[in-house]
Assembly symmetry: none
DNA sequence: GTAATATATTCACTTTATTGAATATATATT
DNA sequence: AATATATATTCAATAAAGTGAATATATTAC
C-alpha cells in the first residue's frame, strides 16, 4: 500500500526531471528509496494519465495537463445535493446559487437523450427527449453528476 | 463494491427524508433496492460524519452542518481565473459555465459598494455604486473570491 | 523489412477492504 | 434506578485491490 506515496512521488519526479522512459523512472524511484516493478509502473502511468511524447531532447514521460472539464466535474459532485424524478422529468437540487453551473456542465456533455435543461437558483430541471427514456436519463445523470 | 453508491444514496436520503435512526434508514434503503446490515450502516454513518441529533420531531440522523457558504467559497476560489478592471467596472473571468455561480456568491455577500452583477457563461461584470469606489470594490473582490 | 527497445498484459499470489451475524456498549425513556 | 432502544465493535468470511515475474504486444531505430 505504498501506492499513494509512490504515485505522488512519480508526479513529483516528472515535474522535476526529464524522464525518457519507465526504466529511467524505476531507477529514479529506487534512488528515492522506492523499489517497484516495471509492470506496476506501467499501471501507475496508465492511472495517472502519463503519456510518452517526443520533445526536443528525445522522448519524455509527461503528465496530462488538467483540463477544465475534470476540474468542473469535481465541483459539480460537491454542488449536487439530490437527484429526483417523476415519469417525465428529472429534478436536480443543488447548493444555493449553483444550479446554473450544474446545468451548464450537463449541457456540455451533449447527451442525445436530454432535450434540454433549465436552471433556477438551486434547482435544475432536466427534460428527456422522450418520457420513455426517463430511466436512462436518470442513470446517466447519476453516473456523471455524483461521486460514484 | 456498492459502498460508494450506498453512501451516496444515504446522503440523498437524509436530504430528502427525516430519518430518526439507523433502522429506519435500513428500511428506506431497502425500498431503494439497497440491502445493508446495521453494522455496515453504523460504519457508513461514522465515515460520513452523520450524527443523531434531537430536533422538533424527535431525533433525526443529520449530515454534519457544513455551512453552504463555506463550501461555496471553496468552489468559487477554484472557479475564478482572473480579476481585472478599468476605471468603471470589474471583470471576473471564470471556468466555462461557472460565472452565474460566482456572481450569485458575490451578490449574496451584499456589499453596499456593489450596485449589481451580471453573469454570462464565463464572465461576471461587477458594477460599483460609484466609479469613485472602484478600487475598494476590486480589493473586496480579491479578498473574497481569491485564495490569498 | 528486422532488431532493439519500451510498454502492456497475464498469471499467481499477497495484502487490504468490505461485509453481516452476533455481541457489547452506549444512549434514551420512564 | 431499570428497561428499552440505538449504535458501535468483534469476529470470521468474502470480495477487491495491489503486486512482481514472466510474457506478449507495441513502438522506435536501423
Amino acid at each position: 500500500m505504498n501506492k499513494q506515496v509512490r504515485q505522488s512521488k512519480i508526479r513529483e519526479m516528472l515535474h522535476l526531471h526529464e524522464v525518457g522512459n519507465q526504466h529511467d523512472l524505476i531507477r529514479l524511484l529506487e534512488e528515492a528509496g522506492i523499489r517497484v516493478a516495471q509492470a506496476t509502473l506501467s499501471r501507475d502511468c496508465s492511472e495517472l494519465g502519463i503519456i510518452r511524447s517526443k520533445g526536443l531532447n528525445g522522448y519524455r514521460l509527461a503528465l496530462p495537463e488538467e483540463n477544465p472539464g475534470n476540474i468542473i466535474k469535481g465541483l459539480v459532485e460537491v454542488e449536487v445535493l439530490s437527484i429526483q424524478s417523476n415519469e417525465a422529468v428529472v429534478i436536480i437540487k443543488t447548493l444555493p446559487g449553483r444550479a446554473h453551473g450544474v446545468g451548464s456542465f450537463l449541457d456540455q456533455l451533449k447527451n442525445s437523450q436530454i432535450l434540454g435543461t433549465i436552471a433556477g437558483d438551486d434547482t435544475v430541471l432536466v427534460i428527456p427527449v422522450s418520457v420513455a427514456q426517463i430511466s436512462q436519463v436518470i442513470s446517466y445523470i447519476q453516473e456523471n453528476l455524483s461521486k460514484n
